[in-house]
Amino acid sequence: MIWNNVRLVFLREVRDQLRDRRTMFTIVVLPLLLYPLLGMLFVQISQFMREHPSAILVIGSDALPDKPALTSGSAFADEFIAHRDAGRVHAELRTLSAWGSSDLEIRTRAEQAVQSGEFDAVVLFPADFARRFKEFRGHLPASSADQRQEAASKDLPQPEIFVNTASDKSRIAAERIERILGLWRDAIVSDNLRQRDVPLAATQPFKLVNTDVAKERTRRAAAWSKILPFVVLIWALTGAFYPAIDLCAGEKERGTLETLLCSPAHRSEIVWGKLSTVMVFSMATSLFNLICMALTSMFILERIVHAGPSSAPVAIGSPPLAAMGWLVLALVPIAALFSALALSIAAFARSSKEGQYYLMPLLLVTLPLMLLPLLPSADLNLGMSLIPVTGVMLLLRALIEEQFSEALRYAIPVIGVTAGCCLLAIRWAIDQFSDESVLFRENERWGVGLWMRQIVRDRRDTPTIAEALLCGMLILLIRFFASFTMSVPDGWPGFFRSTAVGLIVFVAAPALLMAVILTRRPAKTLLLQRPRWGSVVAAISLAVALHPAGVALAEAIRWLYPIGPDMERQLHAVEVLMGQAPNVWILLAVLAFTPAVCEELAFRGFILSGLRHSGHRWGAIVASSVFFGATHGILQQSLSAFALGLLLGYLAVQTGSLFPGIAFHAVYNSLALALAWNSDPSRQGSGFSWLFSGSSAGAGYRWPVVIAGLAASAALLLWFRGQPFESTEEESLLQAVERGERLADAHEL
């Protein structure tokens, strides 16, 4: 790759975008106007909502007791109006007889008064309110404690509030009248107590005092940690999408893309140049929005907090500086990911218009990932950290909230997943730029019938990339939904059925069916070729040699990301079920041999064969391993399975046959069972205990064994590397281009 070409493409594209009025408007002008305007609007609306005086109708003013008097003149008594409601309650008093003749009429008219908006809320005091109130008070000194309790529970005088909860104004009015009546009630209580010479403290034996241990800075950080990442991410996506559309689909439409493709710039140089441009604009949009938001919060919202009422909407102040720093840092990978995604999608689109259509699906996919961390229960854990975007947002939140040890622990999976996704998206973008069917895609009349016919008519020897991806997703989906319908096995037969049948029906069968229907040569697709016996022996040896290191890796993963108690219980239940196996051979058949055959057929057979059409051998191996890892339900196991998948994929490619992989997989699983078997105290002393460290359950291998195993594995892998292997057409082409370009460059020099 010539970086000067990347720089040239980048500089041109940036200049081009800067000359585009629409881009500049979105990046600079919009945020400059948007946040101050939004801030103003928000405050205006909330002030209006809060300061708007509530019209409250009091029906039955004649039924009110004299002491303490709720009303004074034609309004509520000032002493019962809370400080914040002062001047915001307009009361109208009506007697019951003036309002209606019957109870039904009074209630109906009260409801209508609220529904029509004539009054925001109505409070109705029944006709006998004052009398019952008086009677109740009269009981107090004379009656026994039991009588008083009885009277209190069944015959309390009850005023009624009519509110329209569909209207904000009415809700606020109801809140206000509730506060007024609350204060009035307190006054009645203290009056009652005073009459009986009971100190006021009798009703309030203690007072609650909250001590907030969060510092002012942390409080602000916690509030902003929920808002800022969301704002930054949304703008990073928007800022990436529009330039990407202009740089790819727009150029296709304007005919300048072919001009650039005819220049000596390599496809990857063009993509990197364009990607850097999109990334710069994505980050710039996001940063500019962030700055404008911070400025608005500093200059406008804070002033409003001081000047405005005590219940002003924003009491969180301006975002802390450290938070902004972390955001900027996190923006780099996120912008890279969004830019690469947007670029690939934009490269696929024929025109800007078509490109715009893809924004919505992209938003629909990323929005839940952005909203997930906003849920109150969303915490940074292994599962969350493995979800793209969500992991970054949660990590960011932990950093803003200064939980550094927590952040550090999950930094590796978050960075790993984000970097992986970035690289994948960039690779996809480069492939799109090299794919002539994408670059010169023309409108065709599409029909389901035509399409189905094409799939069968144009079958290839091995599956296409799309078919391989479909197979992977299908297996994941089937297994996911099957897990809901299948009951938890309660004995060995049930466990046998759910495991063996699950693997055969949900993993092997889709791959086999798709191979038969969608490819011309199912045997070649599933790598059912006779292997060299040496490679089978080497694969078995590799499984034995590598198992200690595999166990150590699994232990390291479980130490770093402990399994939750629920999962532990489930795992233990499985162990108990395994212990019920009639004999060890059946156990090996179900848990070692069946998964080896079924999973290899699907992941190294159909899926890997299809993915290898990308021309990138290792890319295909990694992608097939992601699917392989994802089918293992427990996350900690998925990580180990992913690593194992890489090795199995390599074996499949190097040997061109599925059988060495099956042998490796079966032996590896058998060793895991043997280890579990050995860790059972009742079965120790098998003669192999010198291999294992410790004697407690879940013991692993001794360290010298792990190291010796790794050395042997390295030697065996070198042997596999030396084996001749068959490349796909696409891989050969890429190699030929690489060789040809090298030769041509040498010739030129």
Binding site: G255, S437, Q454, G740, A744
Partner: protein, 256 residues
């Protein structure tokens, strides 16, 4: 300079299955020669030239430019060609000078040599007036001139013109043809595709008639006249096309 051997290009088509755009096309073109590809719309001319410019890959067969293979050495091929087509537009938000300079730099030129080369080109192509005009404000003729300057900036030995006069008025088209013949006189190898008989007659040293992905005939105007007994290229063209349409060949052999 240019060698094309049995090039075949097919596309997957939803309706037609495998659609063959080029079927075993072979030809050679040398320096100081304008090789004309004459054919109706949809004959496969653009596909052939896109293969030569490495934008498309042939399904089978071989093609090379200046000794570099179009499939395995595409970057070197692109260094040795200048490609002007109706599909290679100019940037709307870039001036003529910036655009030519950008492509000059992508070809590895810089500093004084690039500036001198550009000054020379802008003078030769009479483009000094539009130097600071952005693409969006240019007329079709101006845009075509910028495209030519962009294709010539690195002084390539091979030039490919794909329907380069399409949409141009008579005056501009005439000026363009003059530029092309001058380039030939400077020893460039030029492939010139067109569906206009007059252009082919006036300009091309050798003409190949291409139809439905097949190269039907090839030779100098004199050779074609002699072979088909007619001095009018248009007549020869119609004769070849109607012969092909009434009796399409079973094999993909090229008739010479």
């Amino acid at each position: 300079m240019i060698q094309v051997r049995c090039v075949r290009k097919s596309y997957a088509d939803l309706r037609r299955g495998n659609f063959v755009a080029l079927d075993g096309v072979s030809f050679d073109a040398g320096p100081g020669e304008i090789y004309g590809l004459l054919g109706p719309n949809g004959a496969g001319k653009t596909t052939m030239l896109r293969i030569l410019s490495t934008v498309l890959r042939p399904t089978s067969g071989q093609a090379s430019v200046s000794g570099f293979d179009v499939v395995t050495q595409p970057t070197q091929v692109r260094r040795h060609i200048g490609f002007v087509s109706a599909n290679t537009a100019v940037y709307d938000r870039m001036t003529a000078w910036e655009m030519v300079e950008y492509f000059g730099r992508l070809h590895g030129l810089c500093g004084d040599p690039l500036r001198e080369r550009m000054e020379d080109l802008f003078t030769r192509l009479q483009m000094n007036e539009i130097r600071d005009l952005v693409g969006a404000k240019m007329s079709t003729g101006m845009k075509q001139k910028v495209s030519i300057a962009r294709a010539l900036v690195h002084d390539p030995p091979v030039l490919i013109f794909d329907e380069a006069t399409a949409g141009l008025d008579v005056l501009v088209a005439r000026a363009l043809l003059k530029i092309v013949s001058e380039l030939r006189d400077h020893g460039k190898c030029i492939i010139f595709s067109t569906h206009i008989m007059r252009e082919a007659e006036r300009l091309c040293n050798r003409i190949a008639v291409i139809h439905r992905g097949h190269l039907l005939a090839e030779g100098t105007l004199g050779q074609l006249t002699e072979r088909f007994g007619d001095s009018d290229l248009e007549e020869i063209f119609f004769q070849l096309i109607s012969e092909y349409d009434s009796n399409p060949p079973v094999s993909c052999e090229v008739s010479r």
